[in-house]
């Protein structure tokens, strides 16, 4: 058992060592998101504001190719009304076709259309952004370690580079970005968008709203998942108790007791 304890000590030491090591990198800011936790839900108005920020700011470079406009009206999301969703979709020009003559044509968007991408393909997006592809944002929150906290932190993490750090043209300093160098400029400034609900559009507010929106976009099933999960686990616990009692009864006929 001495060796056992020794190895345990090694593991403990290692994990402490590991924590120390990661402390050199700055951890993302911890935000108390409404959608965290077992019963977490999205803040509806924050989602709607977040869509506005995405649409007016992010969407000029970042695509969201796996989302459809209809998703904006579905339960558990921003829950825009049917008319609003139709109006949002109609605001986009969608390439469709070929028609009977074999020609491609453009038409106003419909709720069933996927989000229109700002660039025709990855190469075009990369070329237009100084050689850095602005990643598709459909699942971005799930694709980054730290998730929503990390995205939010990067959005508010721009600062002047510390002394001695030389940045190339078109590269910006961000204290939360891995490697601290980011090709996306700081696009948020106070009052950049005018929120329909009158909320003051501070950098922090916009960063939180758009991160909430992106979290929903990455996990549109989150609210259903949480609600179903609670029911499933309660059901399983009840069933477990019943089976446990049956088991006790059946096994009472024999020894050993279980």
């Amino acid at each position: 058992m001495k060796k056992f304890k020794l190895l345990l000590t090694i593991i403990l030491t290692l994990s402490i060592f590991n924590n120390l090591k990661s402390a050199e990198q700055i951890d993302p800011i911890k935000v108390d998101w409404s959608f965290k936790g077992l019963l977490g839900k999205f803040d509806r108005s924050s989602l709607q504001r977040g869509y506005q920020v995405y649409n007016e700011v992010c969407a000029s470079c970042h695509s969201m190719q796996y989302l459809s406009y209809r998703n904006l009206g579905e339960p558990g999301g921003p829950e825009f009304s049917e008319e609003e969703v139709k109006a949002i979709a109609a605001g986009f020009e969608v390439i469709d076709g070929p028609d009977a003559q074999g020609e491609m044509f453009t038409r106003p968007g419909r709720p069933s259309d996927k989000f229109v991408s700002p660039y025709p393909n990855v190469n075009a997006a990369t070329a237009a952004n100084g050689g850095a592809y602005p990643p598709d944002m459909s699942v971005l929150v799930k694709a980054r370690k730290g998730g929503a906290n990390y995205i939010y932190s990067v959005l508010v993490g721009y600062e002047d580079p510390p002394e001695g750090v030389v940045l190339d043209e078109g590269v910006y300093y961000n204290k939360y970005m891995i490697g601290n160098k980011i090709k996306m400029p700081n696009n948020l400034s106070d009052g950049l968008v005018e929120y329909a609900d009158g909320t003051e559009a501070t950098i922090d507010q916009m960063a939180k709203d758009v991160t909430t929106f992106l979290s929903w976009a990455a996990e549109p099933e989150l609210e259903t998942r949480h609600k179903t999960g609670v029911k499933v686990i309660l059901y399983l616990i009840l069933l477990t108790i019943l089976v446990f009692l049956s088991m006790k009864k059946i096994w009472s006929r024999v020894n050993p007791e279980i």
């Binding site: 058992m1 060796k3 056992f4 190895l7 345990l8 090694i10 593991i11 290692l14 060592f17 590991n18 077992l38 190719q65 796996y66 989302l67 998703n71 990643p135 459909s138 699942v139 799930k142 694709a143 980054r144 370690k145 998730g147 990455a218 549109p220 099933e221 998942r225 949480h226 179903t228 999960g229 609670v230 499933v232 686990i233 399983l236 616990i237 069933l239 477990t240 089976v243 446990f244 049956s246 088991m247 059946i250 096994w251 006929r253 024999v254 020894n255 050993p256 007791e257 279980i258």
Partner: protein
């Protein structure tokens, strides 16, 4: 094992059973005499059957919506997550199900190691079990490639590249495996095909595993043979079925916890980035259940050496029944082996931990020590301990009082005549 021949009561039943004895089989399975002292570590066989069936059923549904093509696979997974009714639930059950499957199989294997279930006369059960485990690893690895994320692609690249370490023909074999000159669309389509095939091979082996089990019957915590079936055993149904059901439900609660509240904690965030052959992730790590072997692989500076060692780590288990020289099965009566067992558990955990870390500095040292110890356990410690260990007195039978043994077996003290 059944002591009496089963005869169906109805005429039709008898007619059918004479031609295909399915009813006899059902009777054998329900009456199968099972040691009455099995503890909860013995419930993982049933849990594993559940895991396999869950993977097969969810997998079949996923395959209805998934598209095995390098350009479309990632998008088709998002389609499942967003547009298929309860597609997110089915996919999360399948992806977390793989982890739960491995969790259960590791407990099952270590249970066998602790109670000596691999020893005579159960060597074939053990070997079939290891074949299932190997196929599980192959299925899990190929399944992880299918979403065609960054870790899928780079994991596949790293693992398939291992074969290039084979002298002379290595590169040709790798190209043959890929069906291309790198991991590409042909690799994805064949992995999908094999990923669909393997679970059914596993299912077949499970039948053999259970068949082989039903010849000598279950081992048990005391590790001794059944002396008096009427006193030492209970019929499988309802005693074991209800106990398995209870354990399975507890397992399902944990399973559901992952699926509904932390569906992505066991995965890697990079796998939500579509595969890109031009961008290598900072750290390429396999899924958690393969980490100990990954640590062994990387502990050797030579590629071929690492590959050989990694495969040896699994294949050495095949000869385990003949490496263990002790006549006593259960570690309960083996004071020295018992301690080495726990050291092995810690060793494998340490290997798993360093497998997730970069192969440098202290991690590399630990990986090497862990690897050496792993082989030392099987090649040296097991045979030697078996010879020199002074085992504790083993009870005469499962139901008979243990006069000098471990306190754990006080439950065998009072023999109830009801059965």
């Amino acid at each position: 094992m059944s002591e009496h021949e089963y005869v169906p009561k109805s005429k039709a039943g008898k007619w059918f059973n004479d031609r295909l004895p399915l009813l006899s089989l059902a009777s054998h399975l329900t009456d199968y005499p099972t040691p009455k002292n099995l503890n909860y570590w013995w419930t993982f066989g049933g849990i594993l059957t559940f895991c396999l069936l869950t993977q097969i059923i969810t997998g079949i549904v996923l395959a209805m919506h998934y598209v095995a093509h390098a350009d479309l696979a990632f998008a088709s997974v998002e389609h499942i997550m967003r547009d298929v009714n309860y597609g997110w639930l089915i996919r999360y059950i399948h992806s977390n199900g793989a982890s739960m499957f491995f969790l259960a199989v590791y407990i099952h294997i270590f249970r066998s190691l602790f109670y000596g279930s691999y020893k005579s006369p159960r060597e074939i059960i053990w070997i079939i079990g290891l074949m299932i485990y190997l196929l599980m690893m192959a299925a899990a690895f190929m399944g992880y490639v299918l979403p065609w994320g960054q870790m899928s692609f780079w994991g596949a690249t790293v693992i398939t590249n291992l074969f290039s370490a084979i002298p002379l023909v290595g590169d040709s074999i790798t190209t043959w495996l890929w069906g291309a000159y790198s991991v590409d669309n042909p690799t994805l389509t064949r992995f999908f095909s094999l990923h669909y095939l393997i679970p059914f091979l596993i299912l077949g082996l499970v039948v053999l595993h259970i068949w082989a089990l039903h010849i000598p019957g279950n081992n048990n915590p005391v590790g001794i043979d059944i002396k008096k079936p009427s006193k030492d055993t209970v019929p499988f149904h309802p005693y074991i079925t209800i106990k398995d059901a209870f354990a399975l439900l507890l397992f399902m609660i944990i399973f559901a916890g992952f699926v509904f509240f932390a569906p992505n904690v066991l995965g890697h965030s990079d796998n939500y980035i579509q595969a890109n052959p031009m961008v290598t992730p900072a750290h390429i790590v396999p899924e958690w259940y393969l980490l100990p072997f990954y640590a062994i692989l990387r502990s050797v500076p030579d590629k071929l050496g690492g590959v050989i060692l990694m495969f040896s780590a699994i294949f050495i288990l095949f000869v385990l029944p003949w490496l263990d020289t002790s006549k006593v099965r259960s570690a309960v009566f083996r004071p020295i082996y018992r301690q080495f067992f726990w050291i092995l558990v810690v060793d494998v955990l340490v290997l798993g931990y360093v497998g997730a870390m970069p192969a440098e500095g202290i991690y590399l040292v630990l990986a090497r020590v862990g690897t050496i110890y792993y082989f030392l356990h099987f090649i040296v410690i097991l045979p030697v301990v078996g010879y020199f260990e002074k085992t504790e007195p083993v009870p005469l039978s499962i139901s008979e009082p243990v006069l000098t043994g471990s306190a754990d077996y006080s439950m065998a003290k009072k023999d109830n005549e009801k059965i």
